[in-house]
Symmetry: C2
Subunit: 540 residues, 2 copies
């Protein structure tokens, strides 16, 4: 009969690059867990640096900073063993490591064997693969270490079990996308079923630029039961007990399986909150148009930061309907955010006057529409510069995909809440948010979408209906489907070719877009690296 082991799972929100601050947080969590009776606390992948540290891993002082942090970790390990991830340089080769510290000593160190280098991941840019498993004896148990991607293959878990591991620790930095939670639990259950070993999955939580990490850490028994499910979207400590290979929860599971929309909404809220707070902006300012994108963005911002840190500005022009003005002000009032209106007519008029010689005799085209949008961008940026409030952009993924957005106009800003949310999901999210409390006027949801940049303009005058558009986009962007296979799935050739062409030729706009929270399997950030100069033609 083995000694019983109490283990804490530490789901923390780190600030990338802030090694001293992250170390302090880790030591605090370890102390709290020790007081609660834990013998071992497990942190996430690269906890000391936060994830992903990107090219900070190339800084010459990295190892010195890590060494300093490890002295503190060592000192904090007198009452509790600490399993933690950090970068480790050995003979000029950098590894993505996990190690266990106890009573001032490093009991063992493991180097990640599978380095993801796809989608948003660039780990082979920095790290070399480890080749050995690492099993650490601790109080009669055998701790097998793995890091994130390792468990998406059988080898590392198998090797650790073959080397005697009686418990698998898996340290993660696994970004959210819709549907990922179930994938992870099923994956770990398969390992338990195959290897008859309990596993702990510890993930970080929080927003980091375009990535948002949901946490959602959990524990799987050797019988493949999920004995503990920790919450998503918040920092948390969870506790389990291991006795005679039986894993059981000490803390209660805190997560009912959330529906997709609730989870998606929380992802957007956390993405905005962490970007704004970690970059120390006092608040955000956004253009409120009376349309659904800015309405939903305002709701997300107010939920993320509190209404007192959010300002909304209506910037009407000739084509702005009374309905838009009234809905915008109603919503701002319902949410308790500061609201004001500044007309762009005088600036627009002066630009057109300055350009009159150049534009004489030329037809009105999208130039004039872009000019309206840019007057709004300049106003918002002036308010931002003067107050320190960051401009939150309101564009959605459907618009960003086909380039229905104005560079330096509505695309001007620091962060995009809806950048990776298709228009059809924007509608669904607005309904979802109103189901909690009715803050978006129903008319904003029901009216046909319009940029209001020309008389009686409607989005669907120049694009397929949004359900069709979004479905084509998802197939092309997220699933890499070819034009032919999308057409074969039942879409009109003309629609498909037009949409793909718009996506292809507007890469230059996305290249200059603000970052925004990623919630799909392929966002328009590090995920999708297309050349701007590009002679590829779809469907040939």
């Amino acid at each position: 009969m083995t000694q019983s082991l109490n283990i804490a799972l530490a789901q923390c929100n780190f600030l990338v690059g802030d090694i001293p601050g992250n170390t302090t947080l880790i030591c605090q969590q370890a102390a709290e867990a020790a007081v609660a009776g834990a013998d071992l606390i497990v942190f996430s992948e690269l906890a000391l640096t936060g994830y992903p540290p990107e090219d900070l891993l190339l800084r010459p002082s990295l190892q010195r900073r890590i060494d300093t942090a490890l002295e503190q970790i060592a000192a904090a390990s007198s009452e509790i063993a600490i399993a933690i991830g950090y970068p480790w340089m050995d003979n000029d080769v950098l590894y993505n490591c996990a190690a266990v510290w106890y009573r001032g000593e490093e009991l063992g160190r493991y180097a990640k064997q599978y380095l993801p280098n796809y989608q948003v991941f660039d780990e082979k840019r920095y790290f070399t693969e480890g080749i050995d498993s690492c099993v650490i004896p601790f109080r009669g148990h055998q701790l097998g270490l793995t890091v994130c991607e390792d468990v998406w293959f059988d080898g590392p878990v198998d090797d650790a079990v073959n080397a005697g591991a009686t418990l698998i620790l898996n340290l993660n930095a696994s970004p959210f996308h819709m549907g990922k939670l179930e994938e992870r639990v099923e994956l770990m259950q398969r390992h338990a079923t195959r290897c008859k070993v309990p596993l702990l999955y510890v993930n970080q939580v929080g927003g980091q630029d375009e990535l948002v990490f949901d946490g959602s850490s959990f524990a799987i028994s050797a019988e493949a039961h999920c004995v503990l499910q920790m919450p998503s979207w918040q920092s948390a400590l969870g506790y389990v007990q291991l006795q005679d290979q039986q894993l059981s929860a000490i803390s209660a599971s805190q997560l009912a399986r959330e529906d997709d929309l609730a989870s998606l909404y929380q992802a957007l809220v956390l993405g905005v909150r962490d970007y704004v707070n970690k970059n120390r902006f006092p608040g955000v300012v956004l253009g409120l148009s009376g349309g659904i994108d800015s309405a939903l963005t305002l709701a997300i911002a107010a939920d993320a930061l509190g209404p007192e840190r959010v300002r909304a500005v209506m910037m009407p022009f000739t084509y702005t309907s009374d309905m838009s003005k009234s809905d915008a002000s109603l919503q701002a009032e319902a949410m308790g955010v500061r609201y004001e209106s500044i007309s762009i007519e005088p600036m627009y008029r002066e630009f057109m006057a300055g350009l009159s010689d150049n534009f004489a005799g030329l037809a009105v085209d999208t130039t004039e529409e872009n000019l309206q949008s840019r007057c709004r961008g300049v106003l918002l940026m002036a308010l931002s510069n003067k107050t320190g409030y960051m401009v939150l952009t309101t564009g959605n993924k459907s618009e960003m995909a086909v380039g229905y957005a104005t560079l330096y106009g509505d695309m001007a800003g620091g962060y995009g809440a809806l950048k990776d949310v298709y228009k059809t999901k924007v509608f669904a999210l607005a309904d979802y948010r109103n189901s909690i409390s009715p803050i978006i006027p129903q008319r904003v949801i029901d009216r046909p979408p319009s940029a209001e940049l020309a008389p009686d303009q409607k989005d669907e005058d120049s694009l397929p209906p949004y359900p069709v558009l979004d479905s084509i986009l998802e197939r092309y962007i997220e699933h890499d489907d070819s034009a032919d296979s999308i057409i074969a799935a039942g879409y009109e050739r003309e629609d498909v070719m037009r949409v793909i062409r718009l996506v292809d030729v507007t890469e230059y706009k996305r290249r200059q877009a603000p970052i925004g929270v990623r919630v799909t399997r392929r966002g328009f950030g590090r995920d999708r690296r297309y050349p701007v100069t590009n002679g590829w033609k779809a469907g040939v």
Copy 2:
């Protein structure tokens, strides 16, 4: 005595993604070389797709397109053997291949063994490493294939020679940075000295987004002499003859070793020319301020595209000096480009009026400076939208590094000619360009740099002198030196810490900057992947 072999080195300018167009060009070059008596023609790395194809390599129709192209290559190989690079999928695994086609057959195919995944390179995102050398018997000679990065290690050349290679073909896509030409020749000479084998180095030429490829292909004899040096910055066919292991040039070497400034200037011209032409812009428009950055950018644009495709716009405000106005118009006249002046005073005034409630009682700060810059950006973008001319930005690397640039203002545009050129190099390049023909007024070069966004403003009021600034920046950005080591090299601690802090906190601006030609070992593009949200602090 072996049969003599006449070999063509084909230095082509491909359009990334345009597999049919590139294939046509390849077949034309092969036909031309055959007529000239060549037995074998050697193209560059991934010639069918151009380099780098980035995520186009993930498109499902890639292999079908490659297959179609190879049918044409096969048909073009009846009179001449064709050595060429392309991506090749084998059992769902993608390789970066080089192959030799002759009389409709593939004589052999090699997979690149060393995949660069650092700096601007992401090859491990797409490709799997090859493990075997490939030596192809051809007319009594043994052709050993290597691809680019392979020759930066000894193994692939050694293995090919041990397998009997009597000539090494090295297919490259090697981007330019200052000083790289000598590195490459010396590298290949070392292989020749070690292995007693001749080597052909074939590189592509041309601009592709931020990268510019110089060409500069060459041939090294078994005695380590550079027997043929092909030109930089232009497409070319070069010819050598191999007989009894003696490699000799048939064509004349076309390149005197150019000095750094001439080479750098050509890189900038080619980067701008290819970005504009490959993206099919009719021309470019830029803001001409009377300062040196826009003066040099105008010269580059006119040299790249011809003056008839370039428009310059002066956009004066209260702080614009008469000297600036007169120098701008003098330069435009000297270069024969269309020039006009549009005052930003009326737009600026209306923005300030619209913001007067918000700004009441608040001090004047950089908000008002940014507003001037953004009025100019909006004007240029309106001209661009109406005419199709692309806005060329004029900011230099020193400014981009410390964030002395306005998002959506002077940073608005499609491409930055000087994005990777430090201010001290801007001065040197202006002198260099004037040494060919005097087109930049001397006063523009001699006057102290000023953004002219406030009364009597000078750049060096708020920054260290440019020689000091640029030296600190180069150490920090390109060499990853720590603050301590820069200080130890003799710079003031206060300057160093201030400059590093400015670089660190302005990442968000660079993330939205237009792309621009890369000419150093680390530009602000794919090279430098820093988080925006970043708790790293220099010098702690």
